[in-house]
């Protein structure tokens, strides 16, 4: 059998899976540009005419501008904090210079918490946030988000910092670097690829997070996008067209980010899980 034919046959399952993978989302994308009436008449029609104005309506009338803003605040702030704190800790756990007796044990403990199901923390976090006045605040949510993703961030960054050769560090030290300036002037800039990948990973996670948000936020004015979607589904389930538009608003930022930076993504996600 010629290679050409072989490859064509192999393409079939690939194409089928692609249809399976992309189909539902593409369908939603077309529905986001049609009105609910049009959809009910023919669920699979093409968006002709394309009602781009629906995005504007969703933004202004259905409150998506507020929810988008809240998601941006939460994801943006959390990702900045976690990158700083995580990079510092990753560096601190990686370099020989900072080793002490319990360091590896501490790191193991930190890493094991990746396995913790959220339920073991969520009800008591509810209690704790109430006690400290952080319930129903974006601040409280940001702090929880940072804490829950720190272990995996530290793990990834530690792996990167560990492989920086000792000589580099020694060379910089000759020039009179303190630990602090060593980190900021030398190490952190070098870690740009790893930092970029954790940045993106965390951003996606924080943008899409739902469980903690649904328990800790009750005020409509500070709802994030995933929460808004859930509430709108039950209220406005009939209005499929507007819901589809809302789904697009909620997903597009991350998707666009991904399309531009897909290589960073892959590098980041594979860094942790690949064992060769």
């Amino acid at each position: 059998m010629s290679t050409r034919l072989k490859k064509s046959i192999l393409m079939i399952p690939v194409l089928i899976y692609t249809a399976f993978s992309a189909g539902p989302f593409l369908w939603t994308a077309t529905m986001s540009l049609r009105t609910t009436d049009e959809i009910y008449k023919s669920h699979y029609g093409l968006p002709i005419p394309a009602h781009w104005g629906k995005f504007y309506t969703a933004w202004t009338e259905f409150g998506y501008s507020t929810y988008f803003r809240n998601s941006a605040i939460v994801a943006g702030t959390a990702v900045l904090i976690i990158t700083l704190v995580g990079a510092m800790a990753g560096y601190g756990f990686a370099r020989k210079r900072f080793a002490f007796r319990f360091r590896e044990g501490l790191f193991l403990m930190l890493f094991l918490s990746v396995m913790f199901p959220p339920q073991i923390m969520i009800l008591s976090l509810f209690q704790i946030l109430i006690k400290y006045g952080l319930f129903n605040t974006l601040t409280g949510l940001i702090l929880v988000y940072v804490a829950t993703e720190l272990p995996i961030t530290i793990y990834l960054l530690r792996a990167f910092f560990a492989q920086i050769p000792q000589e580099l560090e020694e060379a910089a030290r000759i020039d009179g670097c303190t630990d602090w300036s060593m980190f900021w002037r030398v190490m952190f800039p070098m870690a740009r690829p790893a930092v970029a990948t954790t940045f993106i990973l965390n951003f996606i996670y924080f943008w899409n997070e739902f469980l903690y948000a649904v328990i800790f936020i009750t005020k409509q004015s500070i709802r994030t996008l995933p929460l808004a979607i859930q509430f709108l589904v039950s209220d406005q389930y009939q209005d499929i067209g507007m819901l589809a538009t809302g789904l697009m608003i909620a997903s597009l930022p991350v998707l666009i980010l991904y399309l531009f930076l897909s290589d960073w993504f892959v590098k980041g996600m594979t860094a942790g899980a690949v064992k060769g």
Partner: protein
């Protein structure tokens, strides 16, 4: 000199602060259900308008929720002590809120404009056993059985003069529906606990009569009573005939309305009389089409039944005030705005649904007068029992209610349990949770 200057400055300061406070006023937060029920929302916005006119400088921010999302959110907010609204929609779905002390005492509103039974409904033991009226019942609804006149005509089903089928006529009608490919009932159970409870509860009522049904609900009568067993077996026969649609468990309440009046895939629809609040809105908003011929039945009468001509009625959507909020007095005033005969008339006129507020029937001005007349005509001899299917919850122990819902909203209509198994489970629960 210094004293005078200081005094003057302080006076000016006080004046400025005072003016600012008066100018800003308070923004009350009001959470309500009925996000997609425009007729009811109309009444709420009218109340908001009247309140704001009467209390200048204060505004009301009215947000709508689906109650399945609202109640857990309210609960978390009350537990936290923050993030809860001043006024909120309240219903029998969450009876535990009252003894928890999350509703304010509303004794001070104008109860003279409210039906005594409405006040009595929400006068229950609160925190520490204190008795007070905790909420104002705006929506009163009876449990009704609507039907599609056109379908019945097509299928050759005749409704008796008194609007009630006999046991055999009912079975016969259902048979005609299902054989022609329709569902007999447009019930959807995906997002509510009670839609599957209507038919069996109606049959129990006509067989046992109101008094015995109340005893049954309270756990004083055994589920193994031969009359109850007979009803369950008959009901299971109806289920086996295909009385419910295939998509019952995935249909929401809103979709089941559509199923009945727009898609017309079912002959009958057992639902609260608040059906009209959802159906008499413009078609684009999910309302029934102009050509839809709505009919109303009385409950089918079981043989040798004691409850012929009886129907369930109860109170649904009510409003309450959060006692730990910062604006209790103003919030109470907002709820008080409902306690007005004009609002009662507006409610019934707009929605076609009964209300706990007193109404002046001749003065009701309504585009759906035909419905109100049909309703009164069918129900002219109805003996109303003050317990509604949804409100069984207030009289059953919560564990008992769980079993009741799981068996009759899910198990029996999905053919997952037989009639006798259902009886066993219910009786076991009754004895266990006494």
């Amino acid at each position: 000199m210094r004293w005078k200057a200081r005094g003057l400055v302080m006076a000016m300061f006080a004046l400025i602060v005072g003016l600012n406070t008066a100018a800003y006023g308070v923004e009350l937060q009001w959470w309500s259900h009925w996000a997609i029920e425009d007729n009811k929302k109309f009444v709420l916005f009218e109340v908001k308008k009247r309140f704001e006119a009467k209390n200048p400088g204060n505004t009301v921010n009215l947000t709508f929720y689906e109650k399945a999302n609202m109640f857990p959110t309210l609960r978390a907010a009350f537990t936290a002590g923050s993030g809860f609204p001043d006024v909120f929609y309240y219903e029998a779905d969450v009876p535990e809120f009252i003894p928890a002390g999350w509703l304010a005492d509303l004794s001070s509103i104008r109860w003279e404009n409210v039906e005594p039974s409405a006040k009595a409904f929400w006068t229950r033991p609160g925190p520490g056993g204190k008795m007070a009226p905790w909420a104002l019942a705006v929506e009163s609804a009876s449990d009704e059985l609507y039907y599609n006149k056109k379908l019945f005509r097509q299928l050759g089903v005749t409704v008796p003069a008194n609007g009630a089928f006999t046991q055999d006529q009912f079975k016969d009608a259902i048979g005609k529906c299902t054989k022609a490919g329709y569902a007999a009932f447009a019930t959807g159970t995906s997002d509510r606990e009670y839609p599957g409870l209507y038919i069996p509860s109606m049959l129990l009522l006509t067989k046992l009569g109101g008094e015995d049904v109340k005893r049954l609900v309270k756990g004083e009568l055994s589920w193994k009573d031969p009359r109850v067993v007979e009803v369950f077996r008959y009901y299971r026969e109806l289920v086996d005939m295909g009385a419910y649609s295939k998509v019952m468990t995935s249909m929401t309440l809103a979709e089941s309305h559509r199923y009945f009046h727009t898609e017309q895939k079912a002959c009958m629809f057992p639902v609260g009389s608040w059906y009209t609040g959802r159906a008499f809105v413009p078609v684009e908003k999910g309302g029934q089409p102009k050509e839809f011929e709505l009919g109303l039945l009385n409950y089918p009468v079981m043989n040798n039944g004691k409850g012929a001509g009886q129907k369930y009625i109860g109170y649904g959507g009510s409003f309450a005030v959060a006692p730990k909020g910062p604006n209790v007095a103003l919030a109470t005033a907002l709820v008080n705005t409902f306690a007005d005969v004009e609002i009662g008339n507006l409610w019934t006129g707009k929605t076609g649904i009964q209300t706990g507020i007193k109404t002046d029937v001749p003065k009701i001005d309504s585009p759906i007068k035909w419905y109100i007349e049909m309703f009164h005509q069918v129900n002219q001899n109805t003996k109303w029992q003050d317990i509604a299917v949804q409100n069984f919850k207030l009289n059953m122990k919560s564990e008992m209610w769980e079993v009741w819902v799981s068996v009759l909203n899910q198990g029996l209509p999905n053919k997952l349990v037989s009639a006798d198994e259902a009886i066993e489970k219910l009786e076991a629960a009754r004895l266990k949770f006494k």
